[in-house]
Symmetry: none
């Protein structure tokens, strides 16, 4: 089946909010193997909404709308959609009762306009709103199946998952399973070329590359009649991709992160990490401590922005700073050695660089970064030349630094 999403709300067109509803609905539809070719945003305007419905019904089997179900004068979705389907709205007694109950329970006076929330298109399936007053509805009309959901995400999401999902599952004739592989250390196009042979002529399963700040994601997707059949299709593709990309694949899953992988490996191996940060200014420590349980593998960290503090806290020698400068391989090396000692940690990573926008010179341009790593039997530095804004340079640097820790730790795994 082929669905379209119509998000209704002038606040979306004014850019006052971001459309997370469309994302959440798309995700569910994709998971259920339903195709979404278009999504549209339209304001709280009956003519333009009718036009959008006309176009969508001409292209899709089903339409999911969000917004415009509330009590205010602007909320016109239900009336407009009912008219589009040639239906009248009639009072839904159960919803009316619930509405009155909610106000009574809160000891609040109910303004009369609230009652219009209980007027529903005749013959529709009413969807309960667990948290607030506006119910949703499903209309199975000749033009299309139209599912109306409220606009506030806190009301839309539970209704989508609890009421709409079971309804859609019955309509779905196939399952889609996806697996996301997160990749670091291969440039966007280089990585793609490597898996290009897999991407060409793909039908089912498919593989789609996606570049994020400093890293890549490959989404493997299979469509089948059952979950286990879809998983069976995915497996050989995943193996091939992993073979090509090797240990550049650092994690699996949509929400996985480099810091999560690093904390997991550290905890498994009972090791601790510390950082000596200059240009990332605390970003590395912040990332590690995002992960619950990081206190098991992280005791402390140093943000040494000034040269003085690099000497005082990390014991970087004055001569090194004088002869090579703060942004140098030598300083990076002394910083991580000093941090490892001060923190009594197993692995120490240092970062020193020029994040910009100011501070660059022809010899040491913005984007020049040195990363140092010090561990048992390892003491080395790496030079990076990064592009982008201050934020992007700091973000990418932190990925390189965490990846250095990861690579050191997986060495132990393969021993």
């Amino acid at each position: 089946m082929n669905f379209e999403i119509i998000s209704i709300g002038t606040e979306l067109l004014l850019g006052q909010i971001v459309n997370t509803n469309a994302r959440d609905i798309s995700q569910l539809l994709s998971e259920l193997g339903m195709n979404v070719y278009y999504t549209t945003v339209v304001g709280d305007n009956p003519e333009r909404l009718s036009e959008a419905l006309e176009i969508a019904a001409g292209r899709a089997d089903g339409i999911i709308t969000t917004g415009g179900l509330g009590p205010t004068k602007d909320d016109l979705s239900k009336e407009t959609i009912a008219r589009f389907c040639g239906l009248k709205c009639v009072t839904h007694e159960e919803s009316k009762r619930k509405l009155i109950e909610i106000f009574e329970k809160q000891g609040r006076y109910m303004p009369k306009n609230n009652l219009k929330q209980a007027d529903m298109p005749e013959g529709c399936i009413v969807l309960k709103n667990e948290f607030r007053t506006a119910p949703g509805a499903i209309i199975e009309s000749d033009k299309a199946t139209i599912i109306m959901l409220p606009g506030p995400p806190s009301e839309m999401k539970p209704m989508l998952l609890n009421e709409v999902r079971p309804y859609l599952e019955k309509l779905a004739d196939s399952v889609i399973r996806s697996k996301v592989l997160r990749v670091f250390g291969v440039g966007e196009s280089a990585a793609e070329e490597k898996v290009n042979s897999l991407i060409e002529n793909q039908t089912n399963p498919t593989i789609a590359p996606y570049a994020k700040t400093g890293e890549m994601e490959f989404r493997l997707t299979a469509k089948a009649e059952t979950e286990s059949e879809a998983d069976r299709l995915l497996k050989p593709l995943e193996e091939k991709v992993r073979e090509i990309l090797g240990d550049c694949v650092y994690a699996e899953g949509e929400d996985a992160s480099m810091q999560e992988t690093v904390v997991k490996l550290l905890r498994e191996q009972g090791k601790t990490v510390t950082f000596a940060e200059s240009c990332t200014g605390g970003l590395l420590a912040k990332k590690i401590t995002e992960i619950p349980g990081s206190s098991e593998c992280f005791n402390c960290s140093y943000v040494t922005y000034s040269n003085e503090q690099k000497e005082k806290i990390l014991g970087v020698s004055h001569e090194t700073l004088e002869s090579y400068g703060a942004v140098s391989s030598q300083t990076a090396l002394e910083m991580c050695r000093g941090a490892r000692e001060a923190a009594d940690a197993d692995i120490a990573v240092s970062v020193t660089g020029i994040a910009g926008p100011g501070g660059g010179t022809p010899e040491k341009p913005v984007g020049l970064v040195y990363i140092g790593i010090c561990a048992d039997g390892l003491w080395e530095s790496k030079k990076l030349l990064l592009n982008g804004s201050r934020d992007a340079i700091r973000e990418r640097t932190s990925l390189y630094a965490l990846d250095a820790v990861r690579r050191e730790l997986i060495k132990n795994n393969s021993k």
Copy 2:
């Protein structure tokens, strides 16, 4: 003028990402007094994109697209749009040179498919991509003015503000001027109630409140024929709002941040700050060092996660930790005193708390946080009880901590 936005990308239809680009573009168009009646999302599919272009060009004077300008085979926007306008794509020499330069600078091999990014529709205005390889374009065709922007927000946003905005400003027939006041330290509804009298019956100028994580934003907007006329309308409203909210207004502007205000005040007063972070784990230092020039007022900072390190680095007494625990007013006080001394800073702020999801007890629940501040003639702590996820608790804590620094600094201003 009337614009439509077409966001191109299968990842949007699959719900893999949320469409922040449409929000950012809508915001700009609204600010310039341009109407947006529809926005559409369509996949990386030439037929469906052509259909979307046809519909949009029939309804709007201008179209802004995002996505599909990159080097991969999926990136088909430029070719499809050029064909829609009856134009050929030809190599844009300057973009080609820049492309090759970027790869050379990074010492990376350039896969051939990258060159297609420099093929531009004939006669178009080329929009520079400050940070990456894919340029954008403006086509002034009979069907519509079409502005093509890249998909990744980190590339789209600077192009929108630096290149597209001045172009659109010339087209606009009325001006909308907005001023955003950022507010911290007033609860959402309390602040709103205070300005409620201003919000009611407003027409021009208007005021709209927005709640963000831990803070609030009030957007004041006026529409007029000229900028100065719009500014003249805004001024008395701004004065009223500032009168009501007092020093809870910490900054002006969309992209302003608490850390920016703090760095500005510190630099103005020639002072330095340092942090002793436990549960925020580097977030405070990271925020301060986000701001270019922060090295003038920030030398170093300490992330002391373990008790041992609180003693060793900050000199917190073993007895304090034993008797009151790490999450206590006493520990917070000793942490900031120790950090101030160690860093030789003018102001030191400490943070210790339970960010969750684990680690809470009935006496010390998740969300309990102590903030300490130590400066000339000031040594105090504050207890917070915060709600939300680990991330939200850390984020809110960092705002409270930075706000404590701000309030200490503005005391000097009013002297």
